[in-house]
Amino acid sequence: MDVIAMALPALNDAFAMILQPHVVGYLVLGVVMGLCIGVFPGLGGIAGLSLLLPFMFGMEPVSGLALMIGMVAVVPTSDTFASVLMGIPGSSASQATVLDGFPMAKKGQAARALSAAFASSLFGGLFGAAFLTVFILAARPIVLLFQTPELLMITIFGLSMVGILAGRVAIKGIVAACVGILVGTIGEGASSGALRMSTYNLPYLVDGLKLVIVGLGVFAIPEIIALLRQDKAISDRANLGGGWLVGVKDWWANRWLSMRCSLIGVIVGVIPGLGGSVVDWIAYGHTVQTAKDKTQFGSGDVRGVIGPESSNNAKEGGGLVPTLLFGIPGSGSMAIFISAVALLGTGSIEVGPSMLKNNLDFTYAIVWLLASANVVGTLICIAASGGIARLTNIRFALLAPFLFMIIAFAAFQSRQEIWDLVALFGIGLLGIFMRRFDWSRPAFLIGFVLSAPAERYTNQAYQIGASRFRRGFEEGLEYVFSPIVIILIVITLISVVVGLRQAKTIQAEGDVASGSKRAPLVFLLILSAYVGLTYWNAAIIPDFARMDRVFPVFVATIALIGCALLLVQMMRSPETSAIFADREAQEASSNTHALWPTLAWFAALLIASALVGFIFALAVFLLLFIRIRAGKSWAYAATYAAGGITFICAMAWTLNRDFPPGLLQNYVDLPWPLT
């Protein structure tokens, strides 16, 4: 009763704060800015919030909060556009949306997929806020129950989703996930700082690869190249009339699914340390496991959109708990949010343990500003979705250079080095071949995302557990096998068993015909060689840094066993077996362009950027691509190139970003944006 007596007046105050005309105005302004930034893949809330920071100083707290929350809240809503329409994961929150959203767009159902996604987002956002209003008061002790072993089990549970997304040949999926994990271990080990697959001579690799590059490389580049080779529009059918209304009805038909996934989103979001990167995969896995008819997943089942989208907005609300209650940011944008709050007003709001006691009204204001931002953002997005969905009818050769420009710019934001583009190209190449030979790209990405937490929590749980066991056997057992851990183990086991039984019917990336034996075999051998190299590289880490050795060696061993099994299977299977899946054979008739010449365009852009800088290279690339590949007139190509350059410069200028310089810039001083 005490709790309610405390909460109700605060809630009342919070609504009084929010429902002022100027606060609503700032909220809408923030939402519109957030939508503009979120539409571009790879530019999440961090870019937007840094943009707002200079204005925060001394601003009235509620107005400032409204502006910032409006911006942060809608990024996971608006990045759905890129996921569904282009197959580009806009941010880590919408990776799983790509799996079914993009096939729907290809089938001409873009508007339906978008509006189903937005309706789910809206529901997820509101559900998250409502849940938090009650839960936030009791959250602190519950969150503290999640110690390192629990965090490790959640990570493993996330990894178990690989079982569902593994594809027709389960071992291939497992190896793909292992390779993803190994790519995630590149760089300085978290525990002892030992170098893995990197050297100080190439500082870029020491810090490891960033998610934005791997996500764009694995999903976006292969799709762009594949579409370019077919030289038509994304959607091969006419738009279905009234699509967006169908999407909302789809959501209503699956409202219970949406609710379950929202709950998953809030719960995983609440736990500090995991962030949102797994939420959408877990939600997708749950969606698939609980669906009766699973045959359409991966080729455009609307439930595959509703599940992840419900969870990723609910997660934003959940993520506020560690941020507000513990002062520990759940994500990069939340970290900036914390420092921005301190700039507001007189700095009297202090995010952290005292927040609930001293600023409960502000806490509620934040929660419900988030919900209101979701409403405003979703309404704008639904209104826009019909129009934006027409993008899928544009001939892709005209869209691709523009997309490539955006992706390259987004990748460059990762570390602002030319190596960002090299890494994007390299991972893109891997993605292209994984797509071709039907190796599960979602499994690879899950492995990559969970690589760092899996290793960190394994090492930490081992260290702390060992210390507990030294104190007493029972104390150790109690620590390692808490009730929560046991429940999570059971859930994980069920999920793996059910997942593996169903995996054969779920083709997360559609059906793939088999071709000749040679090409798939060569790719397998190359992957095995990389895994072998990683194994060797990790194995030579000396004893004092063994904490950095154990994990990659363990994962590489599993991957090597998997590769060996696959080799044996390949030797014994006929050419028609699923193990020899080769998209090249399947798409031979629809491809009008070969792979290598198409890739050469982008390789040329990369090399030219390294020589003369990004902007010069881009201008020439756009001009020539539109003229030669798309076959338009010189005048058309020149207009296109000028438009593209203007656009990207305007964006970089607004966000205060630079472009990759080339060798030329070492010798000649050029004005921005050519620097």
């Binding site: 500090p272 340390g273 000396p542 004893d543």
Partner: protein, 367 residues
């Protein structure tokens, strides 16, 4: 924006500044930054303590600089901040629109001769040095075993777990302190920030922790009020003679020196103590500094120095800075230079001791 413009320009500027006589500010020779954008490079991500510090100062600096330029904080994380520092080393003074914010984590690799360091503090021009302190705290049951004045002798048999960011970072100072006090501490490496260390403490997994002053004030004070954490000692502060005295922000807490004095086996003299003190001085009393690049003319240095002095002289500075920075000296001018000197020079013997200790205890070899 950053442009490595002509050496000629810079040398002309240096020459003219030299001819007109140095502290030219009063004569109206301050550089005017009207309509310009000052880029403040922070070699860390948007999420760290340095970001907080720079975001606090940026709008104030903008108001105080002549011409009220826009001050933009640019984050350049990588390689434990050495990437951004190496970048700044290559920046040549142009028009005073590029400044750099370093931190203890930039100082330590420099002091330990990390192979990635290609920067030289001696080349840069310091215009502000911000200090901080640190507080060590324990769970209530363990704090109950402490003797008079924080005597740790009774804790010698305890198994301690400490969440650490890495032995070569600022954590070197507390890790060495635990060792000197005879505690058996197992550092759990791989946490991403001190906030995560505090969370580990709150979850009951770690049973010893430290936080820098501002994080202690906002994050641990509520725990102390709730009775789950008890402060043990503050590292301390330096007096004018260079002695370690009680931290002015926490006058009721003993300094590390006092605790060491009363604990069996802990010496406040000798090689180990000197090494601890040298690295403490490098990491805390001058933890964060603002620099102009090599070759900056005196007029520019004077302009920035004046601007930071104006910020400090604001009527509301005490009020707005206490919560964000704690009650620590924000040094400018000659005081900043002295702080820089003491933060970037450690005696050879102390360096040798710490490198040896890192190698024996953690197997860290810096070469």
């Amino acid at each position: 924006m950053i442009s490595k413009t002509k050496r000629l320009m810079a040398s002309v500027a240096v020459l003219s500044a030299a001819m007109t006589g140095a502290p030219a500010l009063a004569d109206g020779h301050a550089i005017d930054l009207e309509g310009k954008t000052v880029e403040w490079i922070i070699p860390f991500s948007e999420t760290g303590g340095s970001a907080k510090w720079a975001n606090f100062y940026a709008p104030l600096l903008s108001e105080a600089l002549p011409g009220n330029p826009t001050v933009v904080v640019t984050f350049m994380p990588g390689a434990g901040s050495t990437k951004g520092a190496n970048f700044f080393q290559d920046v040549e003074y142009d028009d005073g629109t590029t400044i750099f914010g370093s931190s203890g984590s930039t100082q330590f690799p420099y002091l330990l001769s990390d192979p990635r360091v290609r920067y030289e503090y001696g080349d840069w021009n310091v215009v502000l040095a911000s200090g901080t302190g640190g507080v060590a705290y324990l769970p209530a049951d363990l704090a109950g075993q402490l003797g008079e004045g924080g005597d740790a002798t009774a804790l010698a048999g305890e198994d301690f777990i400490y969440g650490s960011q890495g032995a070569t970072r600022l954590d070197l100072v507390p890790l060495l302190a635990w060792e000197m006090l005879g505690l058996q501490v197992e550092p759990v490496f791989g946490i991403e920030g001190r906030g995560d260390g505090r969370l580990m403490f709150e979850r009951g997994e770690a049973n010893i922790d430290y936080q820098t002053s501002s994080s202690y004030l906002s994050g641990v004070t509520p725990l102390v009020e709730a009775g789950t954490a008890v402060p043990w000692f503050a590292f301390g502060a330096l007096d004018d003679a260079g002695n370690i005295v009680r931290d002015p922000t926490f006058p009721d807490m003993p300094s590390f020196k006092e605790v060491c004095d009363v604990t069996d086996g802990c010496e406040t003299s000798g090689k180990q103590w000197d090494a601890w003190k040298a690295f403490f001085v490098a990491g805390f009393p001058a933890q964060k500094m603002v620099f102009l690049p090599a070759g900056a003319p005196d007029a520019a240095i004077a302009t920035y120095t004046q601007a930071f002095e104006d910020v400090k002289a604001r009527a509301d500075f005490a009020e707005i800075s206490t919560a964000r920075l704690g009650v620590y000296p924000q040094l400018t001018g000659a005081a900043a230079q002295t702080a820089l000197d003491s933060a970037t020079v450690v005696p050879e013997a102390s360096k040798a001791y710490v490198t040896g200790w890192l190698k024996d205890r953690y197997g860290v070899v810096l070469e």
